[in-house]
Amino acid sequence: MERPAKRIRTHRAISPWLFLLPGVGVIAAFNLYPFFTTIYKAFTDARTLTSGNWVGLQNFQTMIHDDQFWTALRNSGLYVLLVVPFTVLLPLLLAMLVQKQMPGIAFFRSAFYTPVVASVVVVGLIWVWILDDRGLVNGILNVLGAGPVKFLGDQWLLLLSAMALTIWKGLGYYMIIYLAALANVPQELHEAAAVDGAGPIRRFVSVTMPSVRPTMVLVGALSSVNAFKVFSEVFLLAGPAGGPAGEDTTLVMLVQRVGTGLNGRVGYASAISLIVFVIALLLMLLVLRADRKEEPR
């Protein structure tokens, strides 16, 4: 009698771990382990082919005197400051536009999502062609009697174009998040406000915004982190070198450039990666905290 019972018990003790093994195994081996080696290597002078020695804070001292690092930090920081207000507000307005049931609205909703489905490489190359000196945008500007504007030839225009691309590609993604939130705003609130004589803008500020506030904070947090980690958009528009004289390099581009290749400075790239991680985490906490502070109002 005792044997079968025992067998069942051991089976029970092992099988949860067998269930976990593939998933948690991959996550531990390829996400958590590299995270810890990143922290460790940030304090070594490791290169691609050598594991390197402990050098203490030397990588961080190098960073302080590295102009490239400060340029990259500035660009990634600017990216957050200039992109996030748009990714928080525009998709909300878009969600309000496609929320109303009207003939054909499902088509528009899906169509607006197309840029999200496409690879960033695809949309990046489309934009390179559209913003070309003789491309579509300059064609339209020409018809209007303006231009041509060299979008991809100037350090700042390049960065702004990449930001516009990021905002454009994110519109549909954040729109869907807002749609879910808008569905929960009670219609009666709008009607009551309308009866009180509030116009559309008043209703937006005093009814819609407060009800979707938590979602705005969530979108703000998500898009801040995403904007700070930007790589592909700038890489594709400005090229691997980061535009004229590398002035458009972002932090993740710098990590990629410094840390890869046969003689990659893995230690230094890890130190920059650590900075990326810490700032991304702080950004997220900052946005979420800002929300909590204002709540008691």
């Binding site: 949860p16 998933g23 496409a118």
Partner: protein, 276 residues
């Protein structure tokens, strides 16, 4: 709901069309460029959307310069493998975290939650050196491995299993079904919707990924489509028609998939974002 007045309806449709032009217009322009022959001027003022003599020559032309169909096959292999590993790995781990009681469950859950907080971009160099140490760099296996089971998918599956009522498994327990039988026959079929979401986003994520394959693949014969397109752009940007054809090849399968499986996309994005 109150009915829209005539002018408001018109205004809304006008706005919808403007946004449509902004979001979808660039894709149409790219499609149009890819269909214009070498004799047709692509720089005309004002720009012409409809090609005068539509041709598919650019599609064979791009294949003469880069092995675009091999790259597409590489992307397909990576994407399908990513679907299989994510569906199996995430549903098993999610089931254990949601439904099984055992010592260490909290730690396992914490490990998954912690992985969610680490941006891939911050560990990509460590992943790269790891692949070198394993002599896997420059292989498609290396492209798949780091994302083979994503923490977000484990969380999605865990939430889906948590929302199932316990009663549906109780009957099976009384019938003497063991945990594997319960998982395969009862739990899995009840969360088909979430599995579809995980599968679709695993496919799309792998097909669209750029930074990681760019870093880990160095030999052009192993490129995935996105890395190959970037290469094409760098080398042959003087002919936008060819680049356009390449990008259409890369985006068309996803647009078709999206058109067929929309409801899963919308459901998934909402869930994933709120719970991620």
């Amino acid at each position: 709901m109150k009915r829209l007045s005539g002018w408001e309806k018109t205004l809304r449709y006008v706005l919808l069309l403007v946004v449509l032009a902004i979001t979808v217009g660039p894709f149409l322009w790219q499609l149009s460029t890819s269909l214009k022959g070498t004799t047709e001027d692509i720089y005309t003022y004002p720009p012409k959307l409809l090609p005068e003599h539509p041709t598919l020559k650019n599609y064979s032309g791009v294949a003469d310069i880069i092995p675009v169909w091999d790259y597409a096959l590489n992307s397909l292999k990576v994407a399908l493998t990513n679907v299989v590993t994510n569906v199996i790995g995430a549903s098993m781990a999610g089931y254990a975290l949601a439904r099984l009681r055992f010592k260490g469950r909290k730690i396992a859950g914490l490990a998954v939650a912690m992985a969610l907080l680490v941006p891939l971009e911050a560990i990509i160099i460590a992943q790269f050196t790891m692949m070198r140490d394993l002599s896997l760099n420059n292989t498609l296996v290396a492209v798949v491995l780091p994302g083979a089971v994503s923490a977000l998918n484990v969380m999605l599956m865990r939430n889906a299993f948590s929302n199932l009522p316990y009663e549906i498994e109780e009957a099976a327990v009384i019938d003497g079904a063991n945990v594997w039988q319960r998982f395969v026959r009862i739990a899995l079929p009840s969360v088909k919707g979430t599995i579809a979401v995980v599968a679709i986003f695993a496919f799309m994520g792998a097909w669209d990924d750029f930074l990681w394959p760019l870093i880990v693949l160095s030999d052009s014969s192993n490129f995935t489509l996105t890395v190959g397109l970037n290469f094409l752009h760098g080398t042959f940007q003087q002919n936008p028609r060819l680049v356009a054809a390449g990008t259409i090849i890369a985006v068309a399968p996803l647009i078709v998939m999206f058109a067929c499986l929309q409801r899963f996309f919308f459901r998934g994005v909402g869930e994933g974002a709120v719970k991620g």
